[in-house]
């Protein structure tokens, strides 16, 4: 389930631009603006003239406060044009990228932290025999890296075509989000050299290297086709979409440590060596298909009834190479004897996430007077999901010790431990959402319009999560001693453990929204939200659209 949560969270990050205008946001989604038409390509021809959207449009999240401190730090550019009629193209593009140095955990001589890529050399000279001259040197060289990288790119390219009452459109909306962290505790080198200044030789050498990354990448390429036909009082619209989805969570860490306690004399072998590997890759891939049928009925110019039927299905499957490996290996000279061993844990993931939904809704839009508009809506949506993830774990450890006396005795042994288990986590759930939004727009004085909206929402959710052990092999340690005796140690066994949880909830919420639309000149549209404290401009959220 946690991967699904992560995926949904990443989806939210990936779709950086909000497909909803300030007018729509402040009237509970009932009254739309030209910007909203952009995302139904066959309706782009309805945009009269040209539009230009910039970083001032506040369409990345809609939460930017131009006079305050809240900013999304995105570059955004877009617009639409009617110059190529009967073709009406529209475009939206945003991008964010950052690479920030983090603390490496190393400090300089003044005690300040080193960021990004740091290197510290520490040298200590000692007078071991207190005769007034240095005879021993220890040198530590440590380097580490710490970075945090994010990159988000979204684009929307759509084109509409108008031929009489028929309008056709197609769009392509790719999104890509990636992040990578470089953890200094797993990206470092350490080199220690001890040397005798009297003998002129190395007396101790340790080299440690650890490198790796933690990376996530989410891509979505949405393909949209759309068509509308305008009858005299009725308009019919159909929209279909298909989006290949991919989400890859991966980390890969590798480490080596080598201690040589006799670096100057190869004839004396005294070392400790370790290797470590920690990799994990959980690639999800799948697609989402959706469709929408729309009927707009306009019996009178001041009355418009809109009806929508939406449906979608989404499926994501863990790739065949989903899994992970954790491995440690040691090899060491003892005093006396030798020891070596390894410990490996192999994970294999299998899983699938499916989600379907259908929604029906209507908007009733009334132009009561030229200065007052009223919108009422009603909608019902239901979603169902089924997620499953199977985690198979197999562990194997080996350790051998030889006391080095060339005689096989009880002190010498080889020990092997095995363990395996497989857990299955299943989540099934449904959502039913009933909304009844209401929104008004009142022109206080031309060209200033006050907007208000309320969106009462009733949500019923039913979700069951089941975790169960589907297979297990208890931990068994088999030890064979040098005198040919042996012993077995058997770990505790589990029989059909598991747990389930069912959550049923019902929430009634009402979200109130408000805003102001102001068009001082024909070429400029200013929309404003978040001005509840009129005199405190820091919380104002502005959206500026250029018109031509």
């Amino acid at each position: 389930m946690r991967y699904m949560v992560l995926f949904v969270a990443l989806c939210g990050l990936a779709v950086a631009y909000v497909p909803s205008s300030f007018r729509s946001q402040s009237t509970a989604g009932l009254w739309t603006d030209d910007y909203d038409l952009l995302f139904e390509p066959a309706r782009i021809p309805l945009i009269k003239g040209d539009r230009v959207y910039t970083a001032l449009s506040n369409f990345v999240s809609g939460e930017e406060e131009q006079f305050g401190t809240s900013t999304d730090n995105f570059y955004l550019l877009g617009g639409s044009t009617s110059l190529l009629a009967p073709f009406y193209p529209g475009l939206l593009f945003d991008r964010y990228a950052s690479k920030n140095p983090l603390s490496t955990g190393l400090v300089n001589g003044a005690g300040d932290s080193l960021f990004g890529e740091g290197r510290v050399v520490y040298t200590q000279l000692q007078d071991l025999d207190s005769n007034g001259t240095y005879d021993y040197k220890r040198e530590d060289i440590t380097s580490a890296q710490a970075w945090d990288e994010h990159e988000t790119t979204d684009a929307y390219v759509g084109v509409g075509f108008k031929a009489g009452a028929l309008r056709l459109g197609a769009a392509f909306a790719p999104s890509c989000y990636s992040s990578q962290s470089t953890d200094p505790s797993r990206n470092f080198t350490y080199d220690r050299r001890d040397s005798s200044l009297v003998d002129g030789m190395l007396t101790y050498r340790e080299t440690d290297t650890f490198t790796g990354f933690d990376r996530s990448r989410l891509t979505e390429n949405n393909i949209i086709v759309n068509g509308w036909y305008d009858f005299s009082a009725v308009r019919l619209g159909l929209l279909g979409s298909f989006a290949p989805l991919a989400n890859d969570e991966r980390h890969d860490y590798r480490g080596w440590s080598n201690i040589d306690r006799s670096p100057a004399n190869p004839s004396i072998i005294d070392f400790s060596r370790e290797q470590m590997l920690d990799t994990s890759d959980i690639p999800y891939a799948g697609n989402r298909m959706g469709g929408m049928a729309s009927v707009f009925y306009v019996p009178k110019p001041e009355i418009e009834s809109r009806f929508y039927l939406r449906a979608y299905t989404q499926s994501l499957t863990v790739g065949a190479d989903g899994g992970g490996l954790e491995a440690d290996q040691i090899d060491s000279v003892c005093h006396p004897g030798t020891a070596n061993g390894y410990d490996t844990t192999l994970h294999t993931y299998r899983g699938r996430e499916t989600r379907q939904g259908v929604a029906v809704s209507t908007k009733q839009l009334f132009t009561v007077t030229p200065r007052f508009r009223l919108g009422l809506g009603l909608g019902f949506a239901t979603d169902a999901w089924h997620d499953s993830l199977e985690d198979s774990t197999a562990q194997r450890s080996y350790y051998a010790f030889d006391n080095g006396d060339s005689i096989s005795g009880h002190e010498d042994f080889q020990s092997t431990t095995t363990f395996a288990e497989e857990w299955l986590t299943r989540t099934t759930g449904t959502d039913r959402v009933l909304t009844a939004p209401v929104g008004i727009e009142f022109k206080i004085l031309e060209p200033v319009a006050l907007r208000l909206g309320a969106s009462p929402t009733m949500t019923w959710r039913d979700e069951t999560t089941v975790e169960e052990l589907t297979a297990s092999s208890p931990r068994v340690t088999h030890t064979v001693y040098g005198d040919s005796t042996f012993s077995d140690q058997l770990g505790g066994a589990q029989q059909n453990p598991g747990q389930s949880e069912t959550r049923r909830s019902a929430d009634y919420t009402t979200e109130f929204t408000y805003g102001i639309g102001y068009s001082p000149i024909d070429n400029l549209q200013v929309d404003l939200m978040g001005f509840s404290r009129l005199t405190d401009l820091r919380h104002w959220r502005l959206s500026i659209t250029f018109k031509f």
Binding site: R261, E274, D343, I407, T417, S487
Partner: protein
Amino acid sequence: MRRALLIPLILLAAFGCKKLGNPLNPDTNQPLGTGAGNLPTVAQVEPAYRDELMDDQPGDTGIQATVVVTFSDYMDPDSVVKSAKVTNTSTGQVVTGLTISYDADARKLYIRHSAWAANSAYLLALSSSLAKNRWGTPLDGNQNGKADGSPYDDALTTFYTAGSSAGACVPTWPPAIEELDPDTIRMADTLVAIAVWFTSEMDTTTLVLSNFRLVRDDGAPVTLTRFSVSPYYVTFMPAAGLSFGHRYTFTILESTVKGKAPANAPAYLLNLDTDNDGPEAAEASLTSYFLCDTVAPPEVEASEISDGVEFDFTKVMDPATLTPANIRVFDSTGYVPGSLVVTNDAPGNLTRVYYYFSRPSDGNLRAFVSRATKARSGAQLDGSFNGIGGEPWDDFWGWP
């Protein structure tokens, strides 16, 4: 599950040589656990070995009593019940009419008879070919950690009833060597007596010269004479004086040396148990050796000095063998490189080696001298102080 870091790995390596501290290392001090692979054993018997079986219903006629066997592991009830056999060794008759039951939870086998014969000694045998634990692993009756098969791994115990005594009980363990002299030591006596003591009564007709052998290290056999013999020991002497400077190997031919036991004792228990780990199908011939020489091998002692360790040898050593590879010092970090200064400062102008550290030491020191070091006479180091140098266990490990 977890992402190990290098630092724990380094710590793991540091503890890698400490057998009980390494997470990859099973605790070898743990008793054998229960489970599929372990050989089950008999943990306790009532009455105790060679003890009296008491009548638990003294008011009734005859001897009513129960023998209780407790196992180390959970046994297969059917197999363990079928494995029990009781023999009246006073008469040689197998006891019938037993009521045998097994309590799986208590891991106890109950063997009851309502009329044990008085004036008798009994032998209870649990056949290892039948008795198995719940996972099918056979009984390890002689508790040597190996599956030796039946009858060698049969679990045996004896007891007696009123009117008899412990002396009437047959042995349940084969005879073994209690002591052999000289054994792995240096002797300066060319006419040394070689004595073998046994743990139980032996058949003296098998303690004859043809079953014992003494061979010089160059392969030359040494003629022995039997000096004395009794049911519990035998002594030999070389017919002629031994030669100094040679190692002599003494061999007992196990297959022909037999014990002596009362009637009705299991025949396989008469075989000499040369490695003292219980009866087996094939016992290796016992070999031991001693060195006949007047020249003692070099020994060494180590003591800590300022910034180093001092090694005092009991002989004048061959300096070519006093190398950094053969003389080392370790601390908690590991090998401590150092420089060697060879002198004749030891008492008696014997060899003393000063080992000066090339780095600061950390923690307790441990000194090592290889058995490859030699005295000028050519004798290798005797780190075990048994008078013989150069043996596999003669590396010197000391705490200065």
